[in-house]
Amino acid sequence: MKTETRSEQFHPPSVIGNILRKLHIDIPLFIGLFLISLLSFIILYSAGSQDMDILVRQAARVGLAFFLMTILAHVDPYQFKRYSALLFGLGLLLLVAVLVLGQFGKGAQRWLDLGIFRFQPSEMIKITTPMMIAWYLAEHALPPKPKQLLIAGILIIIPTLLIAKQPDLGTSLLVASSGAGVLFFAGLSWRFILAIGATLTGLTPILWHFMRTYQRDRVLTFLNPEADPLGRGYHIIQSKIAIGSGGIYGKGWLGSTQSELDFLPESSTDFIFAVFAEEFGLFGCIGLLALYLLIISRCLYIASQAQDTYSRLLAGSLAFTFFVYVFVNIGMVIGVLPVVGVPLPLISYGGTSIVTLLSGFGILMSIHTHKKFLPH
């Protein structure tokens, strides 16, 4: 068993490195996140019609998110474990509050207005759900027994349904996969995974029954975008045109004609990958995917080096959820998955997801930089 400490693994020569280490910052992860944030500004400048206001607002959010990440990296992972259940319960309570308050408002209600800023409990639940499941499973021997699986399953389903009811299909999908990620790393048997996959496929008609009209529209549009080229299919058709016209080398920065001429809707938010693909081409796309893959690999490495079950499960799940983010967003933009409202992590315009994501990375850094020597 490895017992090396952090300082033995890395020897950054600079003063900055020393400061970062004092801050409990994981340098490879930090570099990856920093690069991708930089890329975000570059592409946002182009996608947002070169509007500096957008960049300034985004910069404020990213700054806040990095700050929060640093703070969380400082916290001992033991504290996360200790407050897992409490935080999860609090998150659920806030979710219910949003739903109840939403009854009085109009339509979709995701926000809780706290006066100074608006808070989205579904974002918090994205992190507290894997914390809760990891905490619960870590209390027992792994792999989990059927009874523990059942309880864990229920714990995942409750927030998932509450968020789906808001309705926010994208977020509920991410919450469910963060919980499922924990179960996977906890050693859920492959046979069981296959069985669940089969059951879910069987449940599709029932799920269909409970979907809202616009959610059904999205699925139908995904299956046949040409059926409604003016309405729902418009996004997918236009985004494919943008991506395909980019070719291998792309049209160059600020060279996208599709988003410039307003053909591509939501080009700064959910569909920003289409702008990226149009301007930077296949090479750019592969580069971006490689950068994402590097970040995910580093996260998985951190998980593999974690010292206790709770930290491993949580770290693994956070890495996995990050990938789901990337996969679902890019999948929908290139037309292999239905359109659900999931932003491209760390690149799309919009604050809440960036804050949540970097909080997750803060926890990962905390896990990696608070190692204790194990007795042999």
């Binding site: 068993m1 339509g107 021997a141 792994l142 792999p143 996977f184 790393f185 050693g187 409604d228 080229p229 003016l230 309405g231 729902r232 418009y234 494919k240 045109i241 943008a242 991506i243 395909g244 016209s245 980019g246 070719g247 291998i248 004609t257 599709q258 001429l261 307003d262 053909f263 693909a277 081409g281 296949l282 796309c285 592969i286 995917l289 994402y292 893959l293 995910i296 690999s297 998985l300 998980a303 593999s304 079950t309 491993r312 693994g316 890495a319 996995f320 990938f323 996969f327 890019i330 999948g331 290139i334 037309g335 292999v336």
Partner: protein, 614 residues
């Protein structure tokens, strides 16, 4: 033992976890490769195809707006159609300095600031290359003025658009309604795909309640455009399907007769074809000109309509609430007969007032000195209040409530217009729930003569009258002939669904009493019964707007016009084979017999007269 187990377990766990990390990495790599394969497919294999769509010439999908259906009356007269109108439109994308352009246009064509604001609002909601109207229905002069300087205004052009037009203006404004610009709330509730390119939506009346039929199905064209977004060539298109034309049961000539007859009074006239339920007249006076609403009514004009004392925007026939007054009496008498509370020959002595046992309050009859001894026919013919006070007390509020409900009082008539008011048919329960009070016998009395809490709409009154004339077969009023089809001439039969199963002899004696109201020597509306070869059945009514003190005397000339009684009249004809039922409500009209009855008389005579000729 347990310690060893735990340690061993930790090792197993650790190995298991490492396996999972590796598995996860493999799955993630595979899925990422999947994404890359798809990207290769789009960006290398499909590149030429997509590049040709996007590069020099881009395919733009433009909605093709369907033509809105035309609304006709029962004789094919046009109530709403689409006329060509010229509007000044701007394409923001092609204008360098939009504020300056607007300023110059404003000077040139004398455009109001309000219209500029409206344009700015709409512009923000639309894409930059969408042509947005600034000035609608331009005059020939304006067109000429702009044509001269057109070269100095790139991105500004005159466009021909179809604009909704209502030839009968105020006459049918409340039935036909109007279309107006789609507002932000409607933007959210309308099906987006169907309304791409549509700027207007039905706001009230038939235009609103049959919006989906009238609108039609939006088509689209794939248009090749150059880099500036200007159309070069249409590649492919799916044509729009025009909205369906609607044929109403309304007779616009009859409507005009009724509307004109209301003259300077505010009020409503509703006439129903009894056999089908088709509404022949649905007049609410005053009306308003719906045409300005289509092109965007100015704030001042709208405020003027809103704040007018006569409330021209208020659909009295559908939403006006009035006490039915004495027009309720035939229904109460019928209830008395059906519940065996009275016989036709039962007599009540009317001294000019009625007193509840042990109560000093005098419930007055409209006729000072009273009607003497009256039977049912006398009571209806002369509208004796005392007879009905007495009958109401015998029936009790519960039975009256139930019976009146069968005729649709206090219920929406179900006419195919949105926004109908329900009115109020009071009951013991209602008073307990809403006012937390017990029901008093005095309230039963005044309900018996159509006063008190009772509030009904003119369409309800007409429907109840039609149901009565139809001998208890419930009539459901409607305005649009079914089936809704562009080339259907339309059969307007919509069979009555429900029969109240009233005894024929009871109905007959009520009808003959109502005939007496018009053709009897002492009838309250005998003025309209002359010079016709058939009989009209009717009942006058006067609804109190304010109550007079016990010892005071109501004098029409002494009180303010707005506090004068409402005049009502219900009727149907011919009495032996009823075809048309008419209800008239005239606000502050005074006595029903003298002002309201002649209006119904004109409508009936015109309808039956023209029908006889056919």
């Amino acid at each position: 033992m347990s310690r060893i187990y735990t340690i061993k377990n930790k090792l197993v766990e650790s190995r298991l976890f490492l396996n999972r990390i590796i598995a996860a990495f493999i799955v993630i790599s595979l899925l990422t490769s999947g994404l890359i394969v798809r990207l290769v497919y789009l960006q290398i294999v499909g590149h030429e195809h997509y590049a040709s769509l996007a590069k020099d010439n881009s395919i733009k999908i433009e909605p093709l707006v369907p033509t809105r259906g035309i609304i006709y009356d029962r004789n094919g007269k046009v109530l709403a159609d689409n006329t060509q109108s010229f509007s000044l439109e701007l394409i923001p994308e092609q204008i360098k300095n939009i504020d300056d352009t607007l300023l110059r246009l404003q000077k040139l064509l004398d455009i109001s600031d309000e219209k500029i604001d409206q344009f700015q609002k709409q512009r923000k909601r639309q894409k930059r290359f969408v042509s947005t109207p600034l000035l609608m229905s331009m005059s020939d002069q304006e067109i000429a003025k702009f044509a001269v300087v057109r070269p100095y205004f790139p991105g500004v052009d005159i466009q021909a658009r179809l604009v909704r037009h209502y030839p009968y203006t105020d006459l049918a404004s409340h039935v036909v309604g109007y279309v107006g610009r789609i507002n932000e709330a409607e933007m959210k509730s309308l099906p987006i795909a169907e309304y791409r390119g549509s700027s207007h939506v039905g706001k009230i009346g038939i235009e609103n309640s049959y919006e989906s039929e009238l609108h039609g199905k939006t088509g689209y064209a794939e248009i090749e455009t150059n880099v500036q977004g200007r159309a070069i060539n249409t590649v492919n298109s799916v044509l729009p399907v025009a909205g369906k034309n609607l044929y109403l049961t309304l007779d616009i000539d009859l409507q005009k007769t009724a509307y004109d007859a209301l003259d300077t009074f505010n009020g409503a006239v509703v006439a129903i074809d009894i056999k089908s339920g088709g509404v022949l007249v649905f007049a609410s006076r005053p009306g308003f000109d719906p045409n300005p609403f289509v092109i965007g009514i100015s704030n001042d004009a709208y405020q003027a309509l809103q704040s007018s004392d006569n409330q021209p925007l208020f659909n009295r026939a559908l939403r006006g609430l009035y006490p039915p007054g004495s027009t309720l009496k035939p229904f109460i008498a019928l209830a008395g007969l059906e519940y065996n509370a009275i016989s036709v020959d039962h007599k009540t002595f009317c001294p000019g007032y009625y007193q509840l046992p042990n109560v000093s309050h005098h419930y007055r009859d409209w006729k000072r000195g009273g009607h003497g001894s009256v039977n049912m026919t006398d009571a209806i013919t002369q509208s004796c209040d005392v007879y009905f006070y007495s009958l109401a007390l015998t029936l009790g509020i519960d039975r009256m409530h139930d019976f009146l409900q069968y005729f649709g009082f206090g219920e929406k008539s179900g006419i195919d217009l949105t926004g109908e008011k329900q009115g109020l048919l009071p009951s013991r329960e209602w008073k307990r729930n809403r006012r937390n009070q017990a029901w008093y016998p005095g309230e039963t009395l005044i309900t018996g003569i159509g006063q008190g809490f009772l509030q009904i709409t003119p369409i309800q009154l007409a429907r109840a009258t039609a149901t009565l004339a139809n001998k208890g077969e419930v009539v459901t009023p409607f305005l649009v002939k079914k089936p809704v089809d562009p080339d259907a001439t339309g059969s307007d039969t919509e069979n009555p669904q429900e029969n109240l199963e009233l005894k024929p002899e009871n109905i007959d004696s009520i009808i003959s009493s109502m005939v007496n109201v018009i053709h009897g020597a002492r009838g309250t509306a005998k003025s309209i019964g002359k010079d016709i070869n058939y009989q009209i059945a009717g009942k006058t009514g006067t609804a109190q707007v304010f109550s007079i003190k016990q010892d005071a005397k109501y004098n029409e000339n002494d009180i303010d016009f707005k506090l004068r009684d409402h005049a009502l009249f219900i009727s149907f004809a011919p009495a032996d084979d009823p075809k048309i039922a008419v209800a008239v409500v005239m606000e502050n009209g005074g006595h029903g017999g003298s002002v309201a009855a002649p209006i119904a008389g004109k409508v009936i005579k015109q309808f039956l007269g023209s029908n006889n000729e056919n």
